[in-house]
Symmetry: C2
């Protein structure tokens, strides 16, 4: 994992636009959030699913970075005053606190745009077939759009939708968090030229992992302290948002995380290459405390 994280962070840095221009402020703001210490789970999934399907992780690298850029832009916009209005993220002031709202908004827009610029660049095309590039880029756009991540956020901010039922919260999580985790994994498999069974298994693993991940977030928001979490704990409760814990209670939430983790691990049987890393990742996310 550490090896992947340093590879990813090095490449993210290299993909940032040069600052030798008048619009330096917005590039600084992109860097501020993109290089803040994150878990890098999504890009790690892209690289590792590429590897377990027999692909070359170097070919998956631009896609891994694009996924992380899209994740980062969503955090910046999510933290804005008109959304969750959060002051703290990954142990640091949120982007708009550090750089002002206008620049934070633009930095988010710019990271989303840069994600597509990178995967569609001539450099990427030198090592990856156009057919794969287009399939991966289209999947990324769909998973980030209204039928994916943005759709989940729209449900989250809506005060017209009652988010009391377990099913509604699962749908919301599936879109808001799950969709990008699934596409991150599936894109790794696509770049490797995986077969249908492997693609299906990458989706199954990532769907279970994504939902488990978000329920653990809800559990941590309910039980953890600000210090451990690096963001304001109970921020979801303060904002009167419904969470999985508020829907089914703490114990049943924990039980469901276990089930999902097992489901993810079972899906790994479809791969020829060693999947210990993905198994350990699922187990470690189940047990994380921040």
């Amino acid at each position: 994992m550490n090896n992947y994280v340093s590879l990813i962070e090095e490449r993210l840095k290299a993909y940032l636009p040069s600052k030798d221009c008048m619009q330096k402020d917005v590039i600084d703001a992109m860097e501020y959030s993109l290089l803040a210490k994150g878990k890098r789970i999504r890009p790690t999934l892209t690289l590792e699913f590429c590897r377990v399907c027999g692909g070359n992780i170097e070919e998956a690298m631009p896609f891994a970075c694009a996924v992380e850029m899209i994740h980062t832009y969503s955090l910046i916009h999510d933290d804005l005053p008109c959304m969750d209005n959060d002051d703290l993220r990954r142990g640091l002031p949120t982007n708009h606190i550090a750089n002002g709202e206008a620049i934070a908004l633009l930095a988010g827009d710019a990271l989303l745009t840069l994600a597509f610029e990178i995967i569609l660049s001539e450099k990427t095309l030198k090592s990856v077939e156009s057919k794969k590039v287009i399939a991966a880029a289209n999947l990324l756009a769909r998973s980030a759009g209204t039928k994916g991540m943005i759709g989940g956020q729209a449900i989250d901010v809506s005060d017209k939708i009652e988010k009391v039922k377990k099913e509604t919260i699962e749908l919301m999580h599936g879109l808001k968090t799950g969709a990008l985790i699934v596409s991150a994994s599936q894109i790794g498999a696509i770049i490797a030229g995986a077969n249908d069974e492997e693609i299906a298994a990458s989706i199954e693993y990532a769907s279970a992992l994504g939902l488990a991940f978000q329920i653990v977030d809800d559990i941590l928001d309910f039980t953890s302290t600000t210090e451990k979490l690096g963001k304001s704990s109970l921020s979801d409760e303060r904002g009167k948002k419904f969470t999985y814990v508020s829907a089914v209670g703490l114990e049943q939430s924990k039980e469901f995380v276990k089930e999902l983790t097992n489901k993810a691990i079972t899906a790994l049987n479809s791969f020829k290459y060693n999947t210990d890393f993905l198994k350990d990742l699922a187990l470690s996310l189940e047990k994380r405390d921040h």
Copy 2:
């Protein structure tokens, strides 16, 4: 022009995601701005440059719509309270006034994302070669990013940069407005399979037109009334922003618009097909009063 506009608006409507879902609000908000009556200059340029380079405008249609989606998202985000804080756009309440800030922010994000989803879709690939699709999509991303539109907006909102000099205002306009107008035109030529001279001429025409367009905006902001403009006039003055008119005065601004219009029209000599429409478009933009 009217023919193009109705073709474009019909297709924009068709590209909107289905509303049969919980995230209907954000799709309504996308539609609200995307189908508000606009001039549709950018997508018209995409279609017409495709035609004058001998291409099939139907093939350019997804790209024309993607360009308009990116333009529309930039207007929604630009109008937000943390940016220009405008209440009126195209004669209607701005998106955040009508739909709330959170949904407006997400609708902007979603239009940017949908632009890439559409041009990278299987349907587009059925009629356009992957090489052209990727070249056009990459160009679109670059023109919308920090070295294009977002870069121009970043300069615009910065209070560290003195925007008194003509050169600075020209650079800002070139990025904020010009870059997308240029890529809209160039993409039309690319889809048609244009030669290097035609590509260069499409860039030259659009650069001149884009700058002229923005200077006319500055002139109208200075002289026009709210009623004609459909947005608050003098909003740029109220926000204490510098414009081309504030830099060189009204008369010299008008003179420069004429020069740029002539330059655009001269560039049209490079095309084999009839370019009367593009000539008339340049002349009509010079003379527009809203």
